[in-house]
């Protein structure tokens, strides 16, 4: 069974065709990158996978559940992290983790928080207010929150945006470790091509709401005759512009 099965997914809203008839799968245990320029439809796709947005057409199956009929069963087994959605700044780190531990009905919550604090070097920060943390510390807390329920599927929207290289590497290593230990699937939207090359088994290239190409990072680089994924990204992004599209 796939972690995600998307068929003919379409979303019209705010007067635009944000996602245009896309079809893709994410296999169980796979890490898949969702790439594309601003406005390509990545965030809209992730929002529909999270149940925040209702598709105009098409079907979404997440962890075996139809998101149109049974989204809460899927949401309990998945989680999400984005630097663009905050955690309550006036709550301490441990209070934030407790809130989400309760929302996800995490058993033995105190023990789970201890594990995450140890894994993400948060033990000394647990009593600090979330609003007092540095960007890197906030990212580690957000990641800990996203793993609080040991999700089978993790959706990440630019998880290392605005992070220094050291913290970015820490986050990527944590994601690799989590995936290796649990066999979880990860769908990752990112503009960091080196990150995608490092983490992803498969890449979906989006442009103007469509999936315009897909493949493993090595396969895409070879097919486009380039040295890295960033050059492939630029080729795809600029192809339409050069053709006057």
């Amino acid at each position: 069974m796939n972690a995600i099965t998307v068929k003919n997914l379409t979303k019209h809203y705010a007067g635009t065709l944000a996602v245009d008839d896309i079809t893709f799968d994410v296999a169980q245990g796979a890490v898949v990158g969702l790439l594309g320029g601003n406005g390509a439809g990545k965030t809209t796709t992730i929002s529909m996978l999270l149940g925040l947005l209702v598709p105009t057409a098409g079907t979404l199956m997440v962890l075996g559940h139809d998101m149109a009929k049974d989204r809460f069963a899927a949401l309990a087994r998945m989680n999400f992290s984005s630097p663009y959605i905050a955690l309550p700044q006036k709550l301490s780190v441990i209070e934030n983790l407790r809130v989400y531990g309760h929302l996800y009905n995490v058993p033995r919550l105190s023990r789970r928080i201890e594990e995450l604090a140890e894994q993400f070097n948060l033990t000394g920060l647990l009593r600090r207010l979330a609003g007092e943390l540095s960007a890197g510390q906030k990212t580690r807390v957000a990641l800990a929150k996203s793993l609080i329920n040991r999700p089978d599927l993790l959706l990440l929207d630019e998880p290392t945006a605005s992070l220094d290289p050291d913290t970015g590497d820490f986050v990527r290593t944590a994601l690799e470790t989590y995936r290796r230990e649990t066999g979880a699937s990860i769908l990752l939207a990112s503009h960091n091509m080196a990150e995608v090359e490092r983490l992803c088994d498969d890449v979906l290239m989006m442009k103007q709401g469509k999936i315009v190409d897909r493949g493993t990072p090595d396969n895409l680089i070879a097919r486009y005759g380039r040295d890295d994924l960033e050059q492939v990204f630029l080729d795809i992004a600029r192809a339409g512009a050069e053709a006057g599209v």
Binding site: L52, V54, R98, Y100, L103
Partner: protein, 266 residues
């Protein structure tokens, strides 16, 4: 604890923790009811000293009206401000992608609202007793029915406001502070229905507070419990709550179609 109860507790815990750490928020909850009581309490005291026993009875009704109407106002603000706190902290995205059901979100908001209302009213009740020798508890067991009906009204008004927030985003947040106050002239809190122009009376009659405050005046002036008024208030509350729940559910669904859950804070 069942998963549903635990999810509700998760959100209630989030807000109680916020208040525990923020004395300005707690002070704000109690500030307005206390201020209203002081203004109207001294006004009532002035008239009762100047005009004797009938004015004293009217003064008692004024103080009771202030205290009881604050239940609705605080109940409504308790829900809408709690919801706005999550908009202001840009946290709603995480809440909406958790397994928390919309009904559980509403129950969480109502629970926090109940605590906020109790905290907000307690100082005013104590001050009414100490400054004006007015004991609201002397209304007897019927006070419970007044309380439940007025709280219920605050909640359905709040659900309608939250629905407007889904529809218009945080730009509509000023409605949180204005709508319930706007109902006050038609609520017949401080005067009977007959004080309103005839053409306005139907508006008052379809709102629960007209019936509740008619019941309050009956309890104060004749020591009778106006069960028919209370029953009418309860019936109207159930009807209005049904309407508000339907509007809330409809606007929540519409927000998921429009993408408003993603941009609600803008």
């Amino acid at each position: 604890m069942s998963p549903a109860v635990r999810r509700v507790w998760g959100l209630v815990y989030r807000h109680l923790t916020l208040y525990r750490r923020s004395w300005p928020r707690i002070a704000e909850i109690a500030y307005w009811p206390t201020l209203q009581l002081l203004i109207w309490g001294f006004t009532a005291q002035f008239f009762s000293h100047a005009h004797g026993s009938p004015a004293a009875m009217a003064g008692g009704a004024l103080i009771a009206g202030v205290l009881l109407w604050e239940i609705t106002l605080r109940g409504q603000l308790g829900v809408t401000i709690t919801f706005l706190e999550d908009i202001w902290s840009r946290n709603l995205g995480h809440v909406f992608v958790s397994p928390l059901r919309p009904a559980e979100l509403v129950i969480s908001l109502l629970t926090v609202s109940f605590f906020r209302t109790m905290v907000g009213l307690l100082p005013a009740v104590v001050i009414a007793y100490l400054l004006y020798a007015y004991n609201i508890l002397a209304l007897g067991p019927v006070l419970f029915f007044f309380f439940v009906n007025l709280m219920f009204m605050g909640w359905w008004v709040a659900l309608l406001i939250v629905s407007l927030l889904f529809r218009y985003g945080a730009g509509a947040e000023s409605l949180a502070w204005t709508i319930a106050f706007g109902i006050t002239p038609f609520a017949c809190v401080f005067y009977p229905l007959s004080a309103l122009p005839v053409w306005l009376q139907p508006v008052a009659l379809v709102l629960p507070p007209e019936h509740i405050f008619a019941g309050m005046r009956a309890a104060l002036f004749t020591h009778q419990t106006a069960w028919s008024e209370l029953a009418m208030a309860a019936l109207l509350n159930v009807l209005w709550m049904g309407l508000a729940a339907a509007v809330f559910a409809g606007q929540f669904r519409a927000a998921r179609v429009r993408g408003a859950l993603i941009s609600i804070g803008e």
